[in-house]
């Protein structure tokens, strides 16, 4: 790891904050996708997901 100079804590905090936020966004997107897929299967629509209409 390179030396980040006198303001290393600001640089580290910026990257930790952003990547924590990105992890949250990705996790939330995957969780919501799985939850809806599971609910559709419970409703007996599991096979029709790709071609389901509104």
């Amino acid at each position: 790891m390179i030396a980040l100079g006198a303001h290393a804590e600001f640089i580290i905090a910026a990257y930790v904050g952003v990547f924590a936020g990105l992890a949250g966004l990705i996790g939330w997107t995957v969780f919501a996708a799985r939850q809806t897929r599971r609910r559709l299967e419970e409703l007996g629509d599991g096979q029709r997901q790709g071609s389901s209409a509104q």
Partner: protein, 253 residues
């Protein structure tokens, strides 16, 4: 009408059918995710190991590699929503409001990240985390607009009715985008003027521009990936609502 005279289904028609849209775009998710991962790995390597400290900013220039892409996305996502709003109001495209709804929380998150990284860059550079100048204040207003749109979607049970109200609100809020973009030119602000997207070309050296552009594409590809996945989820969510209503009426298949 015979089979010969029946109009062929264009890609536009296919994209307007939620099920067809999901079927057509689902194979894109994995390749997009892989490209995003590679871009982030290369961008971070360049940002931390190949990019030198900047003449004036020193090492804090590395914050730019996450600040500039998130600030760009805060506006690009809103532009995506504004185009989708036009799609809802003018063309009544069935996927337009799905796109609008999926993009709003993503835009809010990227705007919050831009404000967060900007304040962490501002403290060592300007001596303050926050200043009520044109660029920062208009970006904060953008965050509130995003949160308002997310709240508005949740306030309606009827999503088609919500779509029209949100579309109008989104188009009115779009006036803030040129204010953010040109605030540094119109007013005397603490925030520096544009240094990358300029008519006469970027003012930054190549070794800083390279990681900046790689991270810019990494974040943009991440948005496209998450947007598609969120749109698929929204299509499924509406299908669930339809099935649950049918079940409640007692005529579920």
């Amino acid at each position: 009408m015979t089979i010969d005279t029946t109009p062929k289904m264009t890609w536009w028609n296919r994209l307007s059918h939620p099920g067809q849209f999901v079927a057509l775009t689902r194979p894109l998710i994995l390749p997009l995710a892989l490209v995003t991962g590679v871009l982030f790995a290369v961008g971070l390597w360049y940002g931390f190991f190949s990019s030198p400290p900047e003449k004036y900013m020193g090492d804090t220039v590395r914050i730019m590699y996450v600040h500039v892409p998130t600030a760009w996305l805060s506006q690009f996502v809103y532009a995506t929503m504004a185009v989708s709003a036009l799609g809802t109001l003018v063309w009544r495209h069935p996927m337009a409001d799905v796109s609008m709804k999926a993009a709003a929380p993503l835009g809010a998150a990227f705007t919050a990240m831009a404000l967060f990284t900007g304040s962490l860059w501002g403290r060592p550079t300007w001596g303050t985390f926050w200043e009520w100048d044109g660029r920062m204040t208009s970006t904060l207003v953008l965050l509130f607009i995003y949160l308002g749109i997310v709240a508005l979607w949740r306030a309606f049970d009827d999503q088609l009715r919500a779509a029209r109200v949100v579309a109008v609100f989104t188009l009115v809020g779009a006036v803030n985008i040129p204010i953010i973009k040109f605030s540094v030119d119109w007013w005397s602000t603490l925030h520096q003027p544009a240094s990358v997207f300029r008519a006469d070309g970027p003012t930054m050296p190549g070794e800083i521009l390279t990681p900046l552009f790689i991270m810019f594409f990494a974040f943009t590809f991440l948005f496209i990936t998450l947007q598609l996945a969120a749109m698929h989820t929204e299509v499924r969510r509406r299908r669930i609502t339809t099935l649950e209503r049918r079940a409640a009426r007692g005529d579920a298949r």
